[in-house]
Symmetry: C2
Subunit: 347 residues, 2 copies
């Protein structure tokens, strides 16, 4: 198979979570790593392009994830890069069905001259987020780059967890309901507004939070009825739904009126012309669930502080597999998958 590489340089869009990033991963990362004969058989690895990898250990799965966080600015309404790093990794583990986190790594790269007080504030925020998630940082690494070689701070966190049953992002079945665990677009809109000085009355706050315990409550309430999980981070709900639909081989129909969006987010979205469906979330999950189990699932979500705004937003169909259709007050339209130029350094 010959592969057409469409850019000879890495561009900002390649880090934005959309189609451009997926092409980069397919053309470079999968090409290098996917077919390696050394990889253990029967694992969930890179080729699955899920939120993490899973390796069989006796009668359980060891789930492993990694994320580097490059958000600008490092402090924003509702959180900071430390809380983001812990939440991002805990949530990726939870999206694989692994809600009991064994431990996290913390690798920090700092620019020469970065304030020690800011570093300490970020580390304390990581500790607090770990406590919310019931886990802790167990090993780390520190590097320093010269002035002008790195813009401030980046943090990588990797995490490990054990689970008896892995949940995939590819398990949707026709008839399943699609649930979102709360309002959409909060993180991306808060960060972008901070960056550009748009949110003058400071109503926007990132939703960044570890949601592993919310997901555990959801699984307890609907055992074996959850068919798929994915967190709509970079690229937003739209990108996540497109990935889930394509990998599951189903169509997804979304009811626009059912999407929970805060007024402040809707206001900024209209002002700058960006659809909240395309904007990053850092404390939300999309859940595919069998229609019979919607009621107990929603009750469990609504009973949890991080799930009070949870809503059923759509359903899966046999028609138009891989596509996402939006039902609006004016009819139906196909939701395009974002390519990814939108928002650099949003996470």
């Amino acid at each position: 198979m010959s592969i057409v590489v469409d850019d000879d340089r890495v561009l900002l869009k390649h880090g934005a979570g959309g189609r451009a990033m997926r092409r980069l991963i397919e053309q470079s990362f999968l090409r290098a790593f996917q077919t390696d004969p050394v990889c253990p058989a029967g694992m969930i690895g890179l080729a699955e392009m899920d939120d993490g990898a899973a390796i069989r250990i006796d009668d359980r799965w060891l789930v492993l994830t990694t994320d580097s966080h490059v958000i600008q600015p490092p402090f924003f309404p509702g959180g900071d890069i430390g809380r983001l790093a812990v939440s991002g990794t805990v949530n990726d583990l939870a999206m694989m069905g692994a809600t009991e986190v064994l431990g996290l790594t913390c690798s920090v790269i700092l620019e020469d001259g970065f304030p020690r007080a800011s570093l300490d504030r970020i580390l304390m925020s990581m500790r607090d987020a770990c406590r919310e998630a019931g886990t802790c940082v167990i090993t780390g690494d520190t590097k320093v780059m010269g002035k002008g070689e790195l813009d401030g701070i980046v943090i990588n966190t990797a995490g490990v967890a054990l689970t008896t049953r892995v949940v995939r992002d590819s398990g949707l079945r026709p008839g399943d309901a699609i649930v979102v665990t709360g309002t959409i677009g909060d993180h991306g809109m808060a960060v972008m507004s901070t960056r550009h000085g748009l949110d003058l009355d400071m109503q926007l706050r990132s939703d960044v939070a570890p949601i592993n315990r919310l997901i555990q409550a959801a699984r307890d309430a609907a055992p074996d009825a959850i068919s798929a999980l994915k967190d709509p981070t970079r690229g937003g709900v739209s990108t996540a739904l497109h990935e889930m639909a394509a990998k599951s081989g189903v169509g997804i129909e979304i009811d626009e009126a059912a999407l929970p969006v805060r007024d402040a987010v809707r206001g900024i979205a209209e002002l700058i012309g960006i659809d909240p469906l395309l904007v990053a979330n850092e404390g939300k999950a999309l859940i595919g669930v069998h229609a019979d189990a919607v009621a107990p699932l929603m009750a469990a979500l609504h009973a949890h502080p991080l799930g009070v705004d949870a809503a059923v937003i759509g359903r899966c169909t046999e028609d138009h597999p891989g596509m996402v259709v939006l039902t609006t007050g004016f009819g139906r339209r196909l939701l395009a998958e974002p390519d990814g130029e939108l928002l650099p350094r949003i996470c």
Copy 2:
């Protein structure tokens, strides 16, 4: 306990692997994470400041490590940032006694405009190093930062491995021999010479390599006789020996004449006035071994392609615990522990 923070900004020396970095970790990272009540009991965690963490799972230990790699330049004689990333993480696992690697994560941060061809070359190099180590990349992450926000590329790798017996860097006992698995200073001298255009006849080559199979051969040859393992990366052999001596509560005496140093490294070292004992290695281990098992251990190391230059370089004493004494042709002198300003971005 009140903690005196000695700098209000992060400086280059804080990333160099010496005393300054240890103080930063103690004052900021351990302060935030060490005493967390959520951490599982009985684990080897952050406070141990070993090469990684270990969590008990049934009758085995799950070992977890992380490293971010910021080396400049990304391509250097003998390797590149990709080979370095895989080797660094595989070797940290091996230094905990975990030589069968389950899998690695690969999180790449790129500067807008980074050449795709360079990225692909780096990823293929990672794959080749994985094959040498008998492992593979199983999950990853990609971020892009704007032009001027990051100097080229950084790569984080985390790794997981299982072992029935963890080896620590703190297990040295009086009477143990100290072995190094090969020549010292090759990596740091090759990178520094490339950076400054010193190695005109290109004799210097980094030693960067995964040595997990070498370490496995050593353990097979001297079962239960290996008391401590550490890889002398940033800060070189001197920093690693100081850490091992302090944590083990023994003194270490090193015979300068026994140190294996390549002629080219010795030449550059004399030219620029840097002791090879202070220079980073990326394919070497320091091994503490019971005196009775030195012969079979050395035979196993010498039989392996990565251990042909292995040498017994010293021994552990009850005297002067925590100190490293160098025996030279002119007498004995105390080896000072480096503070860490030497070589930024060496790994």
